[in-house]
Amino acid sequence: MVSTYHYLFLAAALFTIGVIGVLTRRNIMVILMSIELMMNAVNINLIAFSDHLQHQTGQIFAIFVITVAAAEAAVGLGIVIAMFKNKETMNINEIDLMKW
């Protein structure tokens, strides 16, 4: 029988992979993908507890997380396109216009 424990470990592993992706990669597209991975890990946690407690509130919150992920992807990719038009690069080390 699968316990909630199993799902928590899966979610923790996915979240950690996402964090490692954000910290180590320099390509802005891969960083956005890693953020999606982390949001998915959060969704697994929410739905695992929704199943554990036999209450559907966790699933509602997962829907809101998916909504925020969609909004974040739309705005983030808009920023990527605008940035690529200006600087012709996807490397976040070269985007230092606002760096003090």
Partner: protein, 174 residues
């Protein structure tokens, strides 16, 4: 038993392709492996009896967000980005931060493991068993959580306007 087998299959695919997402040099390959991860997470949702969320995951993530990603990858030229430096120079700091995070997760789950041994919910039938997953979620969404639902729609509207403003061509006058 079937649930256990499905959980291990989907979980293994999710983790392996997630690792491949962050290690591939070519971002198109990353996007393909991200699709594999998202689909297997939808499978994990199915093992948790969240059929509606599994459908939403496939439609919104794989059908919407991922297509948007691939679309943007096609819009920008890839020849240069493949030759650019892909990994950060500060990998040592990243390693330490990740190890700290793993330790924190392990400690937290270990300390809280007793709370997962609770007997699963009382005998009273939950709304899901009476109504089915999609109906239960829909009912809660349109009654208890109506205000957050409306706020989420406003958030999406703001995101659409923001994306259009960011991506539109600058006119000469500006």
């Amino acid at each position: 038993m079937l649930q256990l087998i499905l959980f291990y299959i989907f979980g293994a695919i999710a983790i392996i392709s997630a690792i491949l997402v962050i290690t591939q040099k070519n971002i198109v390959h990353s996007a393909v492996f991200l699709a594999a991860t998202l689909l297997s997470v939808a499978g994990v949702f199915l093992t948790l009896h969240a059929e509606f969320l599994a459908g939403v995951q496939v439609i919104v993530y794989v059908g919407g967000i991922l297509v948007l990603f691939v679309f943007v990858i096609m819009l920008i030229s890839m020849e240069r980005s493949v030759h650019e430096r892909q990994f950060s120079r500060h990998w040592m700091i990243a390693l330490i931060a990740s190890l700290a995070l793993i330790g924190e997760f392990g400690y937290g789950i270990y300390k809280g493991k007793d709370s997962f041994l609770l007997p699963p919910a009382e005998a009273a039938p939950s709304p899901e068993t009476v109504l089915g997953n999609a109906e239960a979620v829909g009912t809660a969404l349109y009654t208890t959580y109506l205000l957050p639902f409306e706020i989420a729609s406003i958030l999406l509207l703001v995101a659409i306007v923001g994306a259009v403003v960011l991506a539109k061509r600058r006119t000469v006058g500006e």
